[in-house]
């Protein structure tokens, strides 16, 4: 019998792995992609900053704009692509600049150079735009996307709109206006308050810097003429019925709170949540519905012929892990009630160590794709 996640892999063209940073998203995305490839689908995994040895396992020696094929011993088509997070804005400018002169003017602008690293949303937008191009190329049956490590799972979805707001030409024109229209006087007359603000800003920053800022916006103003429709297309792709979201979480209070918020926003965003994967679960062992007591543990350990000192250590260690299991189960049970019924909930135990080989990823399949899940 196929598991819920197998079914999801079979029915979608795009799977987006979302979740807050540090929950094992990258590894999960790679494991899902490997499974789909082995089942005969031509699969691409778009990944972000994997652990060095996982990158090696996927054949990703360095950043590349193009997918690289991952040789699969058991057969199947798997490709991997590592997104370049740092150069996202540069590429956005390069792609949209009408000519080389404007492109260079922007890229050389000091204001741009300092801020381009931290402009909100550029990485996320570029990831989705690249996703769209690869999806339309028809080279892959399924693309699994790992999302950038943001604090909030929603950032990935909201980034394109934020970027569109930022590039809203009326806002940019506002900012450009004082220098555009030759003098501050126009603005001062037009709106005393804004004039006042600008005068203060001028005093505060020194005019030379404002000129540079203004130049930057002047150059940017014409750059993104057709941006809004592109952003709409990007959202269409994310809301397509053949695009499914998989939320990856860990059983920690903060992470689950963040996930709860994500789930509560799903409807508003119009995307489909297909599964929630809980990584790093500890489980409490119950015997006839109860955790075994210390005395029972010691009895069993005697039967195992463990030396007394070792037996003490083993029992104490077991009890410690039982406490972790109890906490994880309680938190996940409370969280589970909020997961929409049509989404599958899959739990993966807390396996020691990082995964850095295809075999390691395949070992995860036992938990991800057990039919009972």
């Amino acid at each position: 019998m196929a598991s819920a996640l197998d079914d999801i892999l079979a029915k979608h063209a795009i799977i987006v792995c979302a979740g807050s940073g540090g929950v094992g998203k990258t590894t999960t995305a790679a494991a899902l992609a490997l499974r789909a490839a082995r089942s005969g689908r031509r699969t691409l995994v778009m990944t972000i900053d994997p652990a060095k040895r996982l990158a090696d396992a996927l054949g990703l020696e360095s950043l590349a704009d193009e997918p690289v094929d991952v040789p699969l011993p058991g057969g199947g088509t798997l490709a991997a692509l590592m997104l370049d997070q740092k150069g996202a804005w540069d590429r956005l400018v390069e792609r949209h600049a009408p000519n080389a002169e404007i492109r260079d003017k922007i890229l050389r602008n000091r204001f741009y150079q300092h801020l381009s690293q931290s402009f909100a949303g550029s990485q996320e937008y570029m990831a989705i735009e690249q996703l769209r191009a690869l999806h339309e190329s028809g080279r892959y049956d399924l693309i699994v996307v790992d999302t950038p490590p943001t604090r909030h799972a929603l950032d990935f979805l909201e980034a394109p709109q934020r970027l569109a707001d930022f590039l809203d030409r009326s806002v940019i024109r506002w900012f450009v206006k004082p220098y555009f229209s030759a003098s501050w006087a126009t603005v001062r007359m037009f709106n005393r308050t804004v004039g006042f603000l600008f005068r203060r800003l001028e005093e505060a920053t020194g005019v030379s810097a404002l000129v540079e800022v203004s130049e930057f916006f002047t150059a940017m103003a014409g750059l993104f003429e057709n941006f809004e429709p592109r952003v709409r297309q990007v959202y269409q792709l994310l809301r397509d019925p053949r695009t499914g979201f998989v939320l990856v979480v860990a059983p920690e209070e903060q992470v689950l709170q963040e996930a709860e918020f994500f789930i509560s926003q799903i409807e508003r965003l119009g995307v489909s949540l297909r599964a929630v994967i809980v990584n790093r679960m500890h489980r409490e062992v119950l015997v006839r519905g109860r955790p075994p007591r210390r005395q029972a543990l010691m009895t069993v350990l005697r039967k195992l012929r463990a030396a007394p000192e070792l037996a003490e250590g083993l029992a104490a260690n077991f009890d410690d892990y039982q406490a972790l299991g109890r906490g994880d189960m309680l938190r996940v049970e409370a969280f589970q009630r909020l997961v929409p019924r049509q989404a599958a909930l899959v739990m993966v135990p807390n396996l020691p160590g990082d995964i850095h080989s295809l075999d390691g990823l395949a070992a995860l399949h036992e938990y991800l794709f057990s039919a009972a899940a």
Partner: protein, 343 residues
């Protein structure tokens, strides 16, 4: 090599005691326990009679809840103990506060805050937000009581957001100074750069766990902080270390024995042995990456144990506080402090 044979002029000047500095910045990859460690460090300083403020940047008020209090609204300190307070700091709120200082007319402020230009500024120019956050934190560190003229805090502990972000925060004053060479922002940025890079006043602590990704990121951060940003370093705090050792050969033997037990006992026996394998697995990973980390990062370090708890609470915080205090006391005694102050 004996200490006497070292040429003093070849060595960097000894750093002033960590407790004399006025700003501690705590950085680290997401999920390694930065907020918990920030609170623990603050508690340690408070024990030594310092009046300490923990400033949680872009957080969810977790520092407050760890200490068992409800967080105050943004930018307002909440006293937790006589010597210890917490505050949530957020860039947009800090910018609003700053504008209120330079534009003191309420009506004007309201128009400014509701204008699209302002909205744009806050949303799309995060550099400004970061600059304002650092500015706000430094303002708190320098703030004096209007009546007595004394400083309100001896020490501000900044709980910075996850790695990429914290470096953006720390790098922003330098970037801003380069862009805005003249004017108020230029001067303010210069002042922040001076304060941040002064080893008599600031220390950057790095928090990590001993696993592959956090260690790689911490090594990268260490180089960026010490070389690119040239900021003074404090402690490297290695969090959540699994320390129990089990002999895997012995565990294999027990596992084989377990197979011969009747079903009911067997389930328990196997679970006991599996948990021991799990712990030994984590311990050996932690050992391997701790060693790797210490080879690459030249900072005094302290180690905190993994906490086994159903739910992390006050008793666990207290236990970690004791562990940290003991180690820091020993570290600080061994450090040769020459008792002079820079600047």
């Amino acid at each position: 090599m004996s200490e006497a044979s070292q040429t003093p002029s070849m060595l960097p000047p000894p750093a002033p005691p960590i407790l004399h500095r006025r700003l501690w910045v705590v950085v680290g990859k997401g999920g390694v326990g930065k907020t918990t460690v920030s609170v623990l460090l603050a508690m340690w300083a408070a024990e030594h009679g310092k009046r300490v403020l923990v400033a949680e940047v872009d957080g969810a008020g977790r520092a407050a809840s760890l200490l068992g209090v409800q967080p105050e609204r943004l930018g307002v300190a909440k006293r937790v103990r006589p010597n210890l307070a917490v505050m949530s700091v957020e860039g947009a709120a800090a910018l609003a506060e700053y504008l209120a200082l330079i534009l003191p007319v309420r009506r004007v402020l309201d128009v400014v805050f509701s204008s699209r230009i302002y909205q744009y500024f806050v949303a799309a120019a995060p550099g400004l937000k970061e600059l304002m956050t650092i500015g706000k934190i430094w303002y708190e560190a320098e703030r004096t009581d209007p009546e007595t003229g004394d400083r309100v805090w001896d020490l501000v502990v900044m709980d910075a957001p996850a790695t990429g972000h914290s470096l953006q925060y720390l790098g922003m004053p330098k970037a801003a100074r380069e862009v805005f060479q003249t004017g108020l922002v230029g001067r303010e940025s210069q002042r922040l750069v001076d304060l941040l890079s002064n080893p008599a006043r600031t220390a950057v602590h790095i928090v990590t766990t001993a696993e592959e990704m956090p260690v790689n990121e911490s090594v990268e951060m260490y180089h960026k902080i010490s070389t690119d940003l040239a900021l003074p370093l404090g402690y490297l705090v290695v969090n959540r270390l699994h320390q129990r050792r089990f002999d895997t050969g012995e565990l294999q033997r027990l596992k084989a024995n377990a197979r011969r037990l009747p079903q009911a006992d067997r389930v328990v026996a196997e679970a006991i042995v599996d948990r021991a394998f799990e712990e030994e697995g984590w311990s050996s990973i932690n050992r391997e990456y701790l060693q790797r980390l210490l080879e690459r990062v030249q900072m005094p370090h302290v180690e905190l144990p993994f906490v086994f708890a159903e739910e992390f609470g006050a008793t666990h915080l207290e236990r970690l506080r004791q562990v940290l205090s003991r180690q820091l006391a020993a570290r600080e005694q061994n450090t040769t402090h020459h008792g002079f102050r820079l600047g």
